[in-house]
């Protein structure tokens, strides 16, 4: 038992030590003044700025920082909801039908390299300045990896699984729903992981570009407006932490309860 605990403690220490070291070095560098304080504020200043924002309250009494975080996370959640429902459906259709795949593949190939943020100005024209634009851009960015990975997953299902289902009396639609979808789960989860990353980046980016009132991206831009680099650094830290947290809470947990429990693993690429 104690070996188990030792292992856990070491794993945590693995990343704690380097991060703390980084913070310490950072603090030293900024204090020494080698770098212009305008460019590099110290971690303490950044954290201080975060606390400020956390304590600042709107008229309704909510912490400003919290609202920014919730706004971004909320946008991401809605964007992912949209992307998953459309993306997985399209992916299944593409995986199941060669015709659909051959028709959609060129379209997706052409659209995929366009970064989500490039769509922002158009969406701003169509949807205005607020959340709809952010969600739309995030959903679009998240859609592609989901569609492609789902399609790949469905196509690469061991054909013997399909045969077995057929021999047990399952019709085409049943096979699709009860065998193809779970069978493609590892790939779908890979797609989800990518979608998460792309979606988050796009949400933050679009918040910075559009004049949204809330969101971590907007918060960072404010730091620039008021020439407060501490705000920017604080914002960056929060962006990174929130993303890591979300990934761990959602994607990893999903992975554990499905793909890992079933002993299925998707081919791992970068």
């Amino acid at each position: 038992m104690s070996a188990f605990f030792r292992h856990r403690r070491l794993a945590t220490a693995d990343w704690v030590v380097p991060i703390v070291a980084l913070l310490a070095v950072w603090e030293l560098i900024s204090r020494s003044g080698i770098v212009d304080p305008v460019l590099l504020s110290s971690p303490t200043a950044a954290v201080g700025a975060l606390f400020d924002l956390a304590e600042t309250q709107t008229g309704d009494g909510y912490s400003v920082l919290l609202l920014h975080v919730l706004s971004s996370v909320g946008s991401l959640a809605l964007a992912l909801l949209l992307a998953v429902s459309v993306g997985v459906t399209v992916g299944i259709l593409m995986g199941a039908s060669g015709r659909v795949y051959r028709f959609l593949d060129p379209l997706l190939t052409v659209l995929m390299p366009i970064p989500g943020i490039a769509w922002a100005p158009i969406f701003m024209l169509w949807f205005g300045f607020g959340m709809p634009t952010i969600i739309a851009a995030g959903a679009l960015a998240a859609f592609f990896p989901l569609a492609y990975n789902t399609a790949t997953g469905v196509r690469s299902i061991d054909s013997r699984l399909l045969m077995a289902a057929g021999s047990m009396g399952a019709g085409r639609r049943e096979v699709l729903l009860r065998v193809c979808v779970p069978g493609a789960a590892p790939s779908i989860l890979t797609g989800l992981s990518l979608a998460f990353a792309r979606g988050w980046r796009t949400v933050i980016a679009v918040e910075m570009v559009s004049a949204s009132l809330w969101g971590l991206g907007f918060m960072i831009m404010e730091g620039r407006e008021y020439l407060r680099p501490a705000h920017i650094y604080g914002g960056i830290i929060v962006v990174g932490i929130v993303f890591l947290l979300l990934e761990w809470l959602v994607v990893r947990r999903l992975e554990r309860t499905t793909v890992e429990r079933w002993g299925m693993r998707a081919p791992v690429e970068m």
Partner: protein
């Protein structure tokens, strides 16, 4: 001339459950035509345990897939219970060598799959599935996922799953090929035990002569590619059939002599390993 009823009973007893009539199976591989089976005639008797042996790549798996309905013959007919095979279906259950268990379903879930497809009520399906769990001796493992089971246990699940659909015909494609020798022996015994409890028509494909003689009522020996029937050996010995018994050894000898020259022929052919090619 007896009454029509008698005729039918007679017919069922003596007629074939599966009839393969002058079947030829061709397909394209890397642009070249390959003839897997040619002029194949065979008759599988009702409720009999039939084993098909042959050298690697002789088309045994193709034959099974034709019976299962995954493929249609290039020419000739495949009849099951007098009717041509249109596609896969519950009446012909199949157990693959690599099992094809659904990794996302528990043991019980896998076995119940076919029952759910038949639109049973959930409680009934699960209850029936449990019976089959018991039949194959896996009590206690209902909630386990396939990736946690040993090879022999996985085989039992695959068997139970197919049996649960109550097929008329059971097709088995070298199901024990991936098991170690001891587990294989155990599974052969299990299979015979289960079969004697619930008689069905079984078509079992294997490489192994001793396995064939242990299990079969009738053994068909196929030639090297293109596969056709080289010979038939009837094994009317009581079960279980243990090795030291001279009658068993004699039967093995019979099958082996038919098989040997075909195996040599296969080795001489310039072919790549074909185990998975014959589909």
């Amino acid at each position: 001339m007896g009454s029509g009823h008698e005729d039918m009973i007679d017919a069922k007893g003596a007629a074939a459950a599966i009839e393969i009539a002058r079947v030829r199976q061709e397909f394209c591989r890397d642009g070249l035509p390959v003839v897997a089976l040619d002029s194949l005639d065979l008759s599988i008797r009702h409720n009999e345990f039939t084993v098909v042996v042959g050298p690697s790549g002789c088309g045994k798996t193709t034959l099974l897939y034709l019976m299962a309905g995954f493929e249609k013959p290039t020419s000739g007919r495949v009849l099951v219970h007098g009717r041509e095979v249109e596609g896969p279906g519950r009446d012909r259950g199949i157990v693959f060598q690599d099992l094809a268990l659904f990794p996302w379903r528990t043991v019980l879930g896998n076995i119940a799959f076919g029952l759910e497809t038949a639109r049973m009520k959930r409680e009934d399906a699960l209850a029936l599935a449990r019976e089959y769990v018991h039949l194959v001796g896996l009590e206690g493992f209902e909630k386990a996922y396939p990736n946690t089971l040993s090879g022999g246990m996985k085989q039992r699940v695959a068997l139970a799953r197919t049996l649960a659909c109550e097929p008329d015909v059971l097709l088995m494609d070298e199901p024990f090929g991936a098991l170690d020798v001891q587990t294989r022996r155990l599974m052969q015994e299990e299979l015979v035990r289960i079969w004697e409890t619930r008689r069905k028509t079984v078509v079992f494909v294997t490489h192994s002569v001793s396995e064939a003689v242990y299990l079969a009522d009738t053994v068909y020996v196929l030639t090297a590619r293109p596969g056709t029937v080289k010979g038939v050996v009837h094994v009317d010995l009581p079960r279980p059939r243990e090795a030291p018994d001279p009658m068993v050894m004699a039967k093995r000898g019979e099958v082996l002599s038919l098989l040997e020259s075909e195996v040599r022929k296969t080795h001489l052919m310039q072919t790549r390993p074909l185990d998975d090619a014959w589909r």
